[in-house]
């Protein structure tokens, strides 16, 4: 407000390049006793190829809902009331359910919050990690399992050949999350949607998973949409940030700019709410 804004150029924006994900003016409504109430209002966001984009906001701000809309996996009582969603040149909202099924897992993949919950306890890890391959590409089981082992290797799971024969509960939390990421990577999708993938992990494992995501982006040029309420994670990983509050995007900008010069009061509040070693916690109003 006081200092002039530093230049805030989006480094992945290049003329003529189509965004991997382009959401424009998205409105999502929830029904409660047959009354539809908008919970996400006019959200527009872009993810460029090879870019890691963060959405931050408190619980209930609509960040997860907006990202699930891209997969068209909204809960039963929610509907998309308006807007446009494009994956590269595909109009997501115009797809049939069968068409969507072909896109999910192949062109875009979801990395869920709690990997332990997201792995089927009755199925061996190898089969699950290879699932996108057998689902979308088919082929003999042996080849799928070999591919699964290679995927586990890419996400740095030691002993991948033993790993594919293990059941999920035999994996540690970090390994489970990495297995989920491996599953997401199986078909080299254009877009990874990571919904708070590190919330359930302790800090050291969290750092490993973040490093892995960055490595994947650098090596394969995958776009990542990263949903979190953890500002530290955003600062470490993202290129561009959207701040959401009450179903709307209140601010967007490069990570550097958002942290150095937050323009909206809400963003400033979020930043202030993060404990920092430079400003020790003290009661509000104290000197």
């Amino acid at each position: 407000m006081t200092a002039p804004a530093p230049p805030d150029r989006r480094s992945h924006d290049r003329p003529g390049v189509l965004p991997t994900l382009d959401i424009a003016d998205l409105t999502i409504e929830f029904s409660r006793r047959r009354v539809w109430t908008p919970v996400v209002r006019g959200v527009s966001l872009r993810v460029m190829p090879g870019e890691i984009v963060g959405i931050i906001g408190e619980s209930g701000s609509g960040k997860t809902l907006s990202s699930l809309a891209a997969l068209r996996l909204l809960p039963r009582q929610a509907r998309i009331a308006g807007g446009r969603i494009r994956l590269k040149d595909i109009d997501i909202l115009a797809q049939t359910e069968t068409g969507m099924r072909k896109l999910r897992g192949d062109r875009m993949a979801l990395i869920p919050q709690d990997a332990m919950q997201a792995l089927n306890p009755t199925m061996r890890v190898g089969l699950q990690v290879g699932e996108p391959i057998s689902l979308h590409k088919g082929g003999p089981l042996k080849a799928t399992l070999r591919a699964a082992a290679r995927l586990l290797e890419t996400v740095h799971i030691r002993g991948p050949d033993r790993g594919i024969r293990a059941f999920p509960h035999e994996f540690s939390g970090g390994m489970q999350q990495r297995a989920m990421i491996a599953m997401g990577l199986a078909l080299a999708p254009d877009l990874l949607i990571a919904d708070e993938p590190t919330t359930a992990l302790d800090v050291t494992v969290q750092a490993q998973v973040l490093r892995l995501l960055r490595e994947i982006r650098d090596e394969k040029g995958t776009s990542v949409l990263f949903i979190t309420h953890d500002l530290g994670v955003v600062a470490e990983l993202c290129d561009w940030v959207y701040v959401m509050k009450d179903g709307e995007i209140v601010e967007e900008g490069s990570v550097r700019r958002i942290f150095a010069d937050p323009r909206q009061p809400y963003t400033r509040m979020l930043l202030a709410a993060t404990p920092s070693i430079h400003a020790p916690l003290r009661p509000r109003g104290a000197a």
């Binding site: 996996l73 099924r101 999910r104 897992g105 869920p112 919050q113 997201a118 089927n120 979308h136 035999e170």
Partner: protein, 275 residues
């Protein structure tokens, strides 16, 4: 990786398994195990007590009771397995479908199940037998139908729980279709409670079949079943108690065995039970 086999945890299942195993062997190899034919009459030896020749004595037509009990196991076991199978398969399909698709499908299917549930089991079976005609196959079908509502409710409840699991959500996010989700994600995860219920259904099917035979609605004489042996034995209680005691004991042991398996499985498969 795999812990040593926990005998303590599985002891009831093993005990029940041994009992049922013996009865199964008797049923399968009945013609070779049974000392006499179950149909051969011997008017010189009617209503005899236990002897070296006839271990459990003979009935009112001089047939060997032991042989008839062993042969009776065949029908009882057949009926139990097929009836419980019919109930398990149909009930699971109905329950899972209702839970998975929800809404009007759920409403219609479950109201139908409640309709079946509202009749007492034995009455429902008798009505079904009366309309289908009396034969062993119809007894299996009738008893199976009696089991469908129970299994469907259980399957529906278990599916509701699994549907809320994140791995079903992530299966959708991978692009899985309905059938694949049903068979790969849901079925394996609802199997444990259904298996327990199936074991209980076995024992109940044995009882129900015996009851139907006792009422003359099951397999027809001279075919030996535990139910109709009990029925004829009832008339000769004073002359030869063994005649009712033997099939009664057979029913008792079988039901006990299946209940051991059911209870044991429930405890052994329950992840919350630690020793």
């Amino acid at each position: 990786m795999t812990a040593a086999f926990d005998f303590h945890r599985w002891r009831l299942v093993i005990l029940g398994g041994v009992i049922i195993g013996c009865i199964l062997i008797a049923a399968i190899f009945a013609p070779w195990i049974a000392p006499w034919s179950p149909y051969d009459l011997d008017y010189t030896a009617m209503l005899q007590g236990p002897s070296a020749a006839h271990w459990l004595g003979t009935d009112e037509l001089g047939r060997d009771t032991l042989s008839r009990v062993i042969h009776g196991a065949r029908i009882s076991m057949q009926v139990a397995f097929i009836a419980a199978g019919v109930g398990l398969v149909c009930g699971t399909v109905i329950g899972v479908t209702a839970a998975y698709f929800g809404g009007i499908v759920d409403l219609v299917l479950m109201r139908l199940m409640e309709l079946l549930f509202s009749f007492p089991a034995i009455l429902l079976a008798v009505v079904l037998m009366a309309s289908l005609g009396t034969s062993v196959v119809n007894a299996m079908i009738a008893i199976g139908i009696v089991f469908i509502p129970g299994f469907s409710r259980l399957a529906r409840a278990a599916t509701e729980v699994v549907l809320r699991e994140q791995y079903v959500e992530s299966a959708r996010a991978l692009g899985m279709g309905h059938l694949r989700i049903l068979f790969r994600e849901i079925m394996p995860n609802i199997l444990a409670p259904l298996l327990v219920e199936a074991a209980v259904a076995f024992s109940y099917a044995i009882l129900l079949e015996s009851a139907l035979s006792f009422l003359g609605l099951g397999a027809q004489p001279p075919e030996p079943t535990w139910g109709n042996m009990l029925n004829t034995g009832r008339g000769f209680m004073a002359q030869s108690a063994m005649l009712s005691l033997a099939p009664g004991m057979a029913i008792f042991l079988t039901v006990l065995g299946f209940n051991f398996i059911g209870d044991g499985l429930r405890d052994a498969l329950d992840p919350h039970m630690k020793d």
